[in-house]
């Protein structure tokens, strides 16, 4: 009966599934959402260092006027890659890291709906990162900005010193951009489908939609945003590639193409993308603040529905990135209005977080500090965002450092603060150990001060007219002092990152003292051990409350104060007939499938829970994609065909691989 003992021998040797779930090879074949989450986290951290170094180089260059630390060409490459890296290879994968690790745990599932597709997402994301950065050795990195405005992005050097493509089209470094993002998009699309199906279909008995933790809700909203935004940028990137590599005429004004089309398609993706970046962090603080306030989230439904509202309204504001293009007063006024409206659901969330803290029994460990950091710093960025909605005001700000200040307050002060909050909060769950809280607080305060020093003065120089994306600035504009402060702040941030890395490295070697529920938290993931077993829960929990883990620990006195439930009375004895709750529980939950109970026995019956087998094919299929991409770059049909062959061979192996069901 123990599935692990009697592993199947079906299938030819070519399609035999790898079995090892430990050891180095297991990381390449894993389909365990927790391991994939960890892979995402450390890969994103690596890219965070790369993107941070790029930012440091930019700041050192801009510390003084008429600087010659970098050439203009290097500067263009660095600011482009800084943006691309931070958005597509740091913040999005950090979101994926948390979603992967937490989503199944929070809804009481054993894994995601499509485990191999989940592994595929990670490997494709890594392949996209490697492909994009391979440009460094192939003639230079993309240099046309993360927004890649055509036809500017079609100009520029030929990375490999030859004119390729039909009609003598000039190959540009931005082809690395178009193909690299295309590959990254496939990764995100696969996870989006995976997370949507997981959230809808894999919930534990009793886990209704409005009992789901807010982080799970935000994951769902982000997955839908990805699902509908990625195909649009996908089309635009394909068109850019066809223009650059095969001589098509989508965006060449000289051949009748329309550059504004690129801008519309890019920002129709680009604005939902902003919410793709921030909503996971909103979800994280919505978990952290209630835990450390010892109160349920204030206005749960308002937070959830404002998240959904952001998901919808995010589609109607894209042209505020294009006010200066000249779309006309009607379009500008309309998009100015929608831009101001979208601040409303965001504001609702801010007030709900404050309401959560209000009157709570507050504790201030590191995750709480970062969460409060998000609430305060994001609010500053959000308010400067509303000023962009005032069209005449935006004419003044557009393409200045004011905009840079705005989006660093929402992305650094918002998204990254949230992710660090989550990194400290769930570290005990992932490892069973604690991060050093003193170093964590030091990290927070260095980040908090450094971030305001770096990006605060950008508001001022921006309003004084300092243009962004420009490699240098002349003397005597009154910008020197501010720029020097900004550079000092950036160096301080670098110190903060070092503190974090040191803390991470030492804490990983620390003792396992955390236990299952170190923070006295509220959601399902804290019911299982730290780190959780491969199958997550020995017994799938039956959910009867919104903060299920909390209500298994605490009852309520008549005054509404939490009261500790006696040990042993909490777990599984609450759905006796006659109790009020019984009506809330779906039929199948009231009479749980006996199969769910069977694994829990005195003989440590975990072995009877058969988890999906590891697989090499996600890695193989992913590896084919950059090969094909390099084929386009080198104009080599052989490489393109080889990439296609690897992809299709991998898919064939994937399909023919014996499945868990067939082997029994």
């Amino acid at each position: 009966m123990t599935a692990i003992a009697e592993k199947p021998s079906t299938g030819g040797s070519l399609f035999r599934r790898p079995r090892a779930t430990t050891g180095p090879a297991s990381w390449f074949t894993t389909v365990d959402h927790k391991k994939i989450g960890i892979l995402y986290f450390f890969t994103a951290m690596f890219f965070f260092l790369v993107g941070g170094l790029e930012a440091l180089l930019i700041r050192i260059h801009l510390a003084g006027p008429n600087s010659s630390v970098l050439t203009y060409d290097q500067y263009n490459q660095l600011f482009t890659m800084h943006g691309l890296t931070m958005i597509f290879f740091v913040v999005m994968p950090l979101g994926s890291a948390f979603m992967n690790y937490l989503l199944p745990l929070q809804i009481g599932a054993r894994d995601v709906a499509f485990p191999r597709l989940n592994g595929f997402s990670y490997w494709v994301f890594l392949a996209a990162g490697i492909f994009t950065y391979s440009s460094l050795f192939l003639g230079g990195m993309p240099d046309g900005g993360w927004f890649g405005y055509a036809p500017l992005s079609l100009l520029g050097g030929d990375p490999i010193g030859q004119t390729v493509g039909t009609a003598g089209a000039e190959m540009s470094r931005m082809i690395f951009y178009s193909i690299g993002l295309q590959i990254a998009g496939i990764a995100s699309l696969a996870s989006a489908i995976n997370f949507i199906v997981t959230t809808f279909n894999m919930r534990a008995p009793g886990m209704t939609l409005l009992r789901m933790p807010v982080f799970t809700w935000m994951t769902l909203v982000v997955a839908f945003l990805l699902l509908f935004a990625l195909p649009i940028i996908g089309v635009a990137l394909w068109q850019l590639m066809f223009d650059g590599a095969f001589g098509a005429n989508f965006f060449r004004p000289s051949a009748g193409g329309d550059p504004i089309l690129w801008q519309h398609m890019f920002w129709l993706f680009g604005h939902p993308e902003v919410y793709i970046l921030i909503l996971p962090a909103f979800g994280i603080v919505s978990e952290v603040l209630p835990t450390f306030s010892r109160k349920p989230l204030f206005g749960y439904t308002a937070v959830v529905f404002s998240g959904i509202a952001i998901g919808f309204m995010g589609w109607g504001v894209w042209a505020h990135h294009m006010f200066a293009v000249g779309l006309g007063p009607v379009a500008n006024a309309a998009f100015g209005l929608t831009t101001m409206f979208i601040a409303v659901p965001t504001g609702i969330k801010i007030f709900n977080w404050m309401g959560t803290m209000w009157g709570g029994k507050l504790r201030f460990p590191t995750p709480m500090l970062f969460a409060i950091g998000l609430v305060s710093l994001f609010t500053i960025g959000g308010l400067s965002g509303v000023t962009h909605g005032v069209v005449p005001h935006d004419y003044q700000q557009t393409d200045t450092y004011y905009v840079v200040a705005h989006f660093h307050y929402v992305l650094f002060g918002g998204a990254l603060m949230g992710f660090f909050s989550g990194a400290y909060y769930w570290f005990p769950k992932v490892t069973g150990k604690f991060m050093n809280d003193k170093l964590g607080k030091l990290h927070f305060w260095i980040f908090f001060v450094g971030m305001n020093l770096t990006f605060g003065p950008m508001h001022i120089v921006g309003l004084n007219g300092m243009p962004r994306r420009t490699a240098t600035y002349p003397e005597g504009m009154g910008w020197e002092l501010m720029n020097r402060i900004e550079t000092a702040g950036a160096l301080l941030l670098a110190v903060g990152v070092l503190v974090y890395l040191y803390n991470l490295a030492t804490s990983l070697r620390g003792p396992k003292t955390a236990g299952a529920d170190p923070w006295d938290a509220r959601t399902l993931e804290w019911l299982t051990s730290s780190p959780p077993p491969a199958h997550n829960f020995d017994e799938i929990p039956i959910v009867q409350e919104r903060d299920e883990a909390w209500f298994r620990k605490y009852g309520s006195t008549h005054e509404g104060e939490p009261e500790k439930v006696p040990a042993g009375a909490s777990q599984d004895h609450r759905h006796e007939p006659g109790q009020d709750h019984a009506a809330d529980v779906p039929a199948e939950a009231a009479e749980p499938d006996p199969a769910h109970h069977e694994p829990v026995g005195e003989s440590g019956g975990h072995a009877a829970i058969h988890m999906p087998d590891p697989s090499w094919y996600p890695l193989i299929v992913a590896a084919g994609m950059p090969i094909g991409g390099w084929g386009v770059i080198f104009d080599s049909t052989i490489l393109i065909a080889l990439g296609g062959l690897v992809i299709f061979g991998g898919i064939a192996g994937w399909v023919l691989e014996p499945s868990a069901e067939e082997t029994h």
């Binding site: 054993r110 894994d111 709906a113 699309l189 989006a192 489908i193 066809f242 223009d243 399909v655 069901e661």
Partner: protein, 208 residues
């Protein structure tokens, strides 16, 4: 069989039937396919919008008048008929009649291939008449849109032929694998529906 239950719960992408208990009562595979189709709607929507924007930007080259409506009508009809044979293939596997299933599956793939051949022929005619990818924004938009649709048809044919081959080797079994066929059918019908939109918006309205 507790282990099997747990395995199916966590492992529905393994090419199996995907029919088991889920929170929404819809199988994971089918819900995943619907999500993909939702995404594809925006993919083709963006391509079609581009085409409509560039309808009159022909750079003096050929415009919509180049389309051979009777020819494309025939190939459209062929593609639509492939949806019918897809439905018949699904009905056959649901009844467990594998001989019929193989006939209709292969028939669907053949009809799809005929459509692709027609598209290939059409492209060669257009190129011969002076409309290439780089002629104008109009030609770029036309070729990229229709070849992306063609690529989707080709991928569908690949899946159908694989189904046929796997049913010969016994990997695709009667009745149990009907949900798998239904899922591939969903994809196939979607690709057909996209073509109806393309045929109307890209060919009929501008040429008429």
């Amino acid at each position: 069989m507790a282990d099997v239950t747990a395995a199916t719960e966590a492992h529905s992408d393994a090419g199996g039937t995907g029919e088991h208990h889920t929170s929404m009562g819809l199988s994971n595979n089918k819900m995943g396919m619907w999500a993909l189709i939702g995404s594809e709607c925006l993919f083709f929507g963006a391509l079609i919008s581009t085409y409509l924007m560039y309808l009159d930007r022909t750079n003096g080259g050929p415009g919509p008048e180049i389309f051979d409506i009777p020819f494309t009508s025939v190939s459209t009809f062929i593609l639509l008929m492939s949806s019918l044979s897809m439905v018949l293939a699904l009905a056959a596997i649901q009844e467990g009649d594998m001989r019929k299933f193989r006939t209709w599956t292969l028939g669907t793939a053949l009809l799809g291939s005929t459509f692709l051949a027609g598209q290939f022929y059409e492209f060669t005619v257009f190129v011969a008449e002076g409309m290439k990818l780089d002629t104008s924004p109009f030609s770029s938009a036309f070729f990229v849109l229709t070849s992306f649709h063609g690529f989707h048809v080709a991928f569908g044919i690949l899946m159908l032929v694989s189904l046929w081959a796997m049913s010969l080797s016994g990997r695709v079994k009667p009745v149990v694998h009907a949900p798998l066929v239904e899922n591939i059918g969903l994809y196939w019908h979607f690709v057909d529906i996209v073509w109806i939109v393309i045929f109307t918006v890209v060919y009929l309205i501008p040429a008429g």
